[in-house]
Symmetry: C2
Subunit: 682 residues, 2 copies
């Protein structure tokens, strides 16, 4: 069984396993081929001869296709990871089969086919590469809240070709005036909604100095990069026209532990790729308090931290530019969402006062700066917009998250729980928003957990322990590769499955009498082995220690205590909340039920709770693409009221300690979990 997992990819196997264990066999007919779409994780029964593109659509899997399935555009290219498909050749009756045989993982080169030209002939696992995915915009709209934010693309920076009439004695207005006029005409022709006041249109001296030569060398045709932010329009670059126009932006979630960068095509609004790395500042301390202390107390500490984060960002930029074949100079805007301290450090602003009562940041709404000014390796004039923060401990990442979920536009009472190194909780609707912050620690980002890792390729993002066979089923993010460690969603699964199986008790202690070699004591500390290294070609095993479990319990308890206290401040309880959105860099998936089982989330009907991924990053690229989203973000940050959980009258520590149990010391708060656990033990 384990051999087969390796053969066909962890992912596929897991899903099939899950079906076998948790669904009745009748739901997935074994008579019709099974088609699995990856990374979406959608599994569907198909008829022999079914068209792969149509199947994907019926399964709500987004595949790009601009020619309408004629095999002309090449955008629906997919990777056959397991199984085979048949090529539908239109004129002749000839059928060409592309098959991937079961064999060792690395023995076979995976094969690309066009989904629109492929027919199902048997079980098949299909991976939709980033390049073939429909814009993240569309994925978001179905996956998170349907918001009205992105009706049209109005990017923070846009490139526009302008063709000017050469000057004459009859019309000898200046180059700049001519360019401005031409730009107005071009934008009107494009139907661009952006409105700017030509009298307020700015241009830096560096660009103006290059203008006359460029105009005359390029026959009065230029490509103009224009930005519009906070009511100020500016031409930030002029270049010769090229076909097609390359215009890119970066949406960057600057997390305390992890930095995630999305590269967006600003012409089409599509995501070209995403990369994440641990924030290079980690070596200066795990949380914002440690970072602030370093910046405050060490000579040049602020400068070192600034360099660490820009180095990480530059590394992500280089990776994205390389993998997406994009020139960094064509990146003309960045939107950064991060907590208040991270943004201070990125801009080189002393964050000392955030750490000391009364926890005052230098700025909630920092100036729009230039990439060159911050040392970021893109177009030096690229705008860097940082989401406005609410306060010292509720940053622009939360503004971004509220934007991404659309909760500020909904009349439903919604709660957003964003689990990062800090946990932030927002509650409200289209009339009011309250928020709070609590120190969750980086455990759910895999930090401070042996074999924990952040949610990138190779991370185990789902796992399940099957006590009957003493097996662990798991799936990793990204391409077939040996598992590197366990990311947030996998850690939640791990905690829940250990608890349900009885291998761990409600205090987070492993059952040392458990009849399995998976529980063992190393260096005086009990641990549970999820993956045997020898089975996946690793030198060491992947396990979770009791101290890791305690770290995870502290994190989940802090978040739950914060949520509880925020509601209590408003005279509300979880039952009043109409929808809960859980966000964070857990991975691509989060098993909500497991998050409830461990007491990270309240015991509500599961259909009220949804995992919305990294909303900080989502909001960042939404704002890259939409002027309305940028305006909303400014409004959201002003609208939110911060509740200080440490203030007198709040009993954060009491609530926190009460939560250091699974799911909670007050078991009456989790009736369905109690029921489930008692069933598991039966």
């Amino acid at each position: 069984m384990r051999e087969e997992t390796q053969d066909i990819g962890n992912k596929t196997q897991d899903i099939r396993q899950e079906e076998e264990t948790s669904s009745s066999e009748s739901e997935i007919s074994t008579l019709r081929p099974i088609v699995v779409f990856y990374p979406d994780g959608k599994c569907i029964n198909a008829e022999i001869g079914a068209n792969l593109l149509e199947l994907a659509r019926s399964a709500d899997v987004s595949i790009d296709s601009s020619c309408g399935g004629k095999g002309a555009c090449g955008k629906c290219k997919v990777l056959i990871k397991y199984g085979a498909v048949r090529n539908k050749t239109q004129d002749s009756g000839e059928k060409e089969a592309v098959s991937v045989l079961k064999s060792g993982v690395s023995d076979l080169e995976p094969s690309y086919v066009l989904a629109c030209q492929s027919e199902v002939i048997g079980d098949v696992v299909v991976e939709i590469p980033v390049s073939s995915r429909l814009s993240e915009l569309q994925i978001l709209q179905s996956g998170v809240e349907p918001t009205a934010e992105l009706e049209s693309i109005t990017p923070l920076a846009q490139k526009i070709d302008v063709a000017l009439d050469p000057p004459s004695l009859e019309d000898n207005s200046s180059d700049l005036e001519r360019l401005t006029r031409g730009l107005e005409v071009a934008m009107k022709d494009n139907g661009d909604g952006a409105v700017w006041d030509r009298n307020k249109l700015q241009m830096g001296l560096d660009v103006l100095r290059r203008l006359p030569r460029l105009l005359r060398d390029n026959d009065w045709q230029l490509n103009v990069t224009i930005t519009d932010s906070r009511g100020v329009s500016e031409i930030i670059d002029v270049q010769p026209c090229v076909e097609p126009t390359h215009s890119y932006g970066l949406g960057i979630d600057v997390g305390t532990t992890t930095i995630v960068a999305h590269l967006m095509d600003l012409n089409t609004g599509t995501s070209l790729g995403v990369q994440s790395e641990y924030n290079g500042q980690i070596r200066y301390g795990d949380d914002v308090i440690a970072r602030i202390a370093y910046a405050s107390d060490k000579k040049n500490g602020l400068e070192e931290l600034k360099r660490a984060v820009t180095d990480t960002m530059n590394s992500l930029i280089a990776e994205l530019a390389d993998s997406c074949q994009v020139s960094p100079n064509d990146v003309t805007c960045l939107i950064c969402s991060g907590n208040t301290t991270m943004i201070h450090l990125l801009l080189g602003i002393d964050p000392t006062s955030i750490r000391r009562e009364p926890y005052v940041p230098v700025a909630q709404r920092v100036p729009i700066t230039r990439a060159g000014q911050l040392g970021l390796n893109v177009n030096p004039n690229a705008l860097v917009y940082c989401f406005p923060a609410v306060g010292g401990y509720v940053g622009g990442d939360i503004t971004s998250g509220v934007l991404a979920t659309g909760m500020a536009e909904s009349d439903k009472l919604s709660m957003l729980i964003d689990v990062g190194t800090n946990g932030e909780i927002v509650i409200g609707n289209n009339e009011w928003l309250m928020c709070c912050s609590c120190s969750a620690g980086p455990a759910f980002e895999g930090c401070g957990i042996e074999h924990g890792t952040h949610a990138t390729a190779g991370a185990i993002e789902r796992l399940q322990y099957i006590p009957d066979t003493d097996e662990v089923l798991f799936s990793t993010i990204g391409k077939q590769m040996p598992p590197r460690g366990v990311c947030g969603s996998g850690l939640i699964d791990a905690m829940a499955t250990l608890l349900r199986s009885g291998a761990m008790d409600r205090a987070g202690k492993l059952n040392l009498s458990w009849p399995s070699p998976r529980i063992r004591i190393v260096d005086d500390e009990p641990q549970f082995v999820f993956v045997w290294g020898r089975e996946v070609g690793r030198e060491d095993d992947i396990f979770l220690t009791e101290s890791g479990i305690q770290n995870l319990m502290r994190s989940k308890s802090a978040v739950y205590a914060g949520s509880t206290l925020l509601l209590r401040n408003l005279g509300l309880s979880f039952a009043d909340v109409e929808q809960i959105r859980i966000a964070g860099g857990f991975g691509n998936y989060l098993d909500i039920e497991n998050a409830v089982i461990i007491g990270l989330l309240p015991d509500l009907p599961l259909d009220k709770i949804r995992f919305v991924g990294n909303t900080s990053a989502t909001g960042a690229w939404m704002a890259l693409l939409s002027e309305k989203a940028r305006r909303s973000a400014e409004e959201i940050s002003k609208q939110m009221t911060y509740v200080e959980l440490m203030a007198a009258g709040n009993s954060f520590m009491d609530e926190f300690v009460a939560g250091l149990f699974l799911p909670h010391t007050n078991i009456s708060l989790f009736p369905s979990v109690v029921k489930m656990l008692s069933q598991s033990k039966e």
Copy 2:
């Protein structure tokens, strides 16, 4: 007689001489003491015991006095340059005389008295130092057009003290938010009219980085420098509070030949001083065409020219800062008015296209830049605003001039003739404005004329030749010092007086049979000696050569031809013009009648024509002080229509050649001059 001139200062003597020659003795009674106010040149008969401050007011001479003449404020301090006054001691009957005896110029230390405490006891020459003059604003309002521009002071940059409540847990908004709020309150308390949108208030990263430390080191009280330009408000500096607040701006006329800088106190709206120097670019060529050629053709030419002009500006800044005891860092804004080429060169923008048909500048409305960016030695964040131009050959200096004269707000049909190295002429009213440009050359700025000089201290600004005695009466600008040369107004006087006396003919040829040693031939060229070097302690004589006369004739003819053609384009003639304003760096005075006699100005009733000084510089400091003036300038530049005199249909060369006579070849255009000349010869 000449001995006495030296003794009591040229100025005084000249005026007395003029009175003797051109006025009847009865107008200035010799029985009552004569009081001369310098540099205004006002001469008045006074009663013995008359109060000096009241006398000045009755003579329309501006002297500052904020205590109402009580001897308390010390602002009406004046210099007794000749003669004596008596101190009016209020309580006792004691009278203390301050007298300056006739003696050698440098033998006696001049004495300062308070005008309000001084009574006339005999003839006296009083100099009002810069520090005691009422604001140039008021001088302007009486001296040039009364415009409504400067009803209140709304400077381009203002410094405001703000006192903030320290943060608390109840109010822990950010430093920037707190500062913004405090600023709003302080501005409201001050009754400042400036309106800014706090959501659009900008702050550079450098200032923001300094903010937290400064706030905490200065007990939450700071002095904030805020600017407002083109709809964008920005905090450009924060500093500890000092008493009093030093807030200065520079209004700079960046001329092709001469650069004039006014240092303004932005708190009070008063002028602290003015300095001028030849533009360091002169060594690269006399006119804009030569400068453009150098910038276009020489490697690093543009950079050299940029450095030359900023060097000159920095030299003026250093002189003003030194003489007015001002820290350059307290200069927070500059307004530059200059022709289009000068502004291009100042900003380092290639002016090549201005020189070539169709004479297109790179920008008419250049970006607002920073002093630091341009290498100007004031506060590096100081805004540099350049007046918008109309076209390649009608620059921001003319926009500034139209602003200063108020002609764009008047319903009278007005003409502004600005004589610089280029001559520009504007005609219009509050409904329309037309303008043109012609190359006048730098002759009236003293360039290309042996013993010509620009209008600074020591320049002869008025002169008159008395044929009967073969004497030349003259006055110089500024303190008593040997004459350095002759500036524009003096050169016009020279031409007119030679023509009227018959020492020169209408073709500009000197009469070699004239019975005076003043006309002589040196190096084959006739010349007229105005000042014998031996009489003023100079090694050489001050004279005007025939080639200098020809240069002056070309300049005056170009200006007259331009004026004529602009009118002709509109189907108008000089008779239709209700008022003519002549502007330029001629000096403090211009004898309008003499300007008509030589044919620089048309033969209209003299009350229609007024000399308004350097309106480019005046407009610059008006705009420094008034937001309304800045908005008007933007409107004026858009409103003005440029007429290309070189375009087909215009006959500039014909008109120009016709003007190469004194006053003109077509003598019927100057009937009153003809009459006057015939009378002179009688």
